[in-house]
């Protein structure tokens, strides 16, 4: 029983590794018009359309939306420090600090 469980778990781990062999990616830039654009994607070139996207400030979510059909989100630049988060599931979350988002 124990052996079967271990084998099943190992198979599950292997399967999940295969299914998510790609890496989640996000790149953001300041549009220079008071807004920020973040683009999401994956290392295998697949679309990020519909993937959850959040903006957080001091640990609080100030924007929660989904990447559009072009795998992008455009939002008003928050005043002060913030983080843009691309959440494609466990192990596939990308954080970009607002300080690193420039024109």
């Amino acid at each position: 029983m124990k052996k079967t469980l271990v084998v099943t778990m190992a198979a599950l781990v292997l399967l999940s590794t295969n299914a998510f062999a790609h890496t989640a990616l996000m790149s953001c830039f300041d549009e220079g018009d008071g807004t920020i654009t973040c683009e999401g994607g994956f290392s295998d070139g697949s679309s990020a359309s519909g993937v959850e996207f959040r903006v957080e400030q001091n640990g609080k979510v100030i924007l929660k939306t989904k990447m559009n059909e072009y795998s992008e989100v455009n939002f008003k630049k928050p005043a002060g420090a913030y983080q843009a988060i691309f959440n494609a599931g466990e192990g596939h979350t990308v954080y970009v600090d607002g300080n690193d988002i420039v024109e």
């Binding site: 890496t23 790149s27 830039f29 683009e39 994607g41 290392s43 072009y70 690193d100």
Partner: protein, 272 residues
């Protein structure tokens, strides 16, 4: 006897300078972590030996060099014309100076930025022919692949099967030589390593990193297979150029023979 030596030396010089012309489309880094404004240099040279730099667009019937015919970039399928970003400069090679260009480009968006440079045919007096090298180079932002393998149906084109910006030292690059979208069987390809630093401030190339053990290592000649496909192992980090000779459909320019070549640049990184 002295005259014979001189004649032999001259013919050797001529033969080494007429072959292995490579249209460079240089930028320091092809795999960017995030969007940035990048520097580009467009120079017609010999990247390994740097024995002669050519005036881009040189004509046989005019003192004026013809301007670049096309220069554009494609990102996520969108084409942007870059012709008006080109500024003429004088390039200083190891042995001479020549007319070249510099430009800047804002690689803002994520993904591949696929550059195409189509210079005017260049008159090569040594062979009394024209050479036009349609040149491809890819810069990637943040790792997402988008356009690198797009086939553009150019008159002369190398379509990569390996991402040109994502190659470890010791691995390989594979591409297909095409002319007007059709594979060129057994295409003749010249391969050269950019064997020197490129100084963007002074618009000059530096001294050689390495010396070739023999002339056949300066410009390596390989051939594509029956389907126009080739693979080449890359033993050293840096930029490598692949030039498929005469792959293009245009065979004549101003009444003279034209070699319309397909050029692609790939950048190799050490595993460290």
């Amino acid at each position: 006897m002295k005259r014979v030596y001189l004649a032999i030396t001259m013919s050797l010089l001529l033969s080494s300078s007429t072959f292995a012309h490579f249209q460079m489309l240089y930028t320091p880094e092809s795999a960017l972590e995030k969007g940035a404004t990048i520097e580009l240099r467009e120079v017609f040279t010999h990247p390994f030996a740097d024995e002669h730099t050519m005036d881009m667009g040189k004509q046989h019937d005019s003192e004026e060099n013809n301007p670049v015919e096309a220069f554009y970039v494609i990102n996520k399928g969108k084409k942007k014309d870059l012709l008006n970003t080109l500024q003429t400069i004088t390039w200083t090679g190891s042995h001479n100076t020549a007319a070249a260009y510099k430009s800047q480009y804002k690689a803002k968006r994520m993904g591949d930025h696929l550059f195409i440079l189509q210079p005017a045919p260049y008159y090569e007096a040594g062979e009394d022919i024209y050479i036009q090298q349609i040149t491809k180079m890819v810069v990637n932002v943040a790792g997402a692949p988008t356009d690198w393998d797009t086939e553009l149906g150019l008159k002369a084109e190398i379509v990569p099967l390996t991402k040109p910006y994502s190659i470890w030292t010791g691995s390989t690059f594979t591409g297909i030589v095409k002319g007007n979208g059709k594979p060129v069987p057994f295409a003749e390809i010249e391969v050269e390593y950019l064997n020197r630093d490129v100084n963007l401030d002074t618009n000059a190339t530096g001294p050689s990193y390495i010396e070739a053990p023999q002339d056949s290592f300066v410009t390596m000649g390989i051939k594509a297979d029956a389907n126009g496909q080739f693979t080449f192992g890359l033993p050293r980090a840096g930029w490598w150029g692949f030039c498929a000779l005469g792959a293009g459909s245009d065979k004549e320019y101003k009444g003279k023979e034209l070699s319309q070549d397909a050029m692609i640049w790939v950048q190799v990184k050490d595993m460290q």
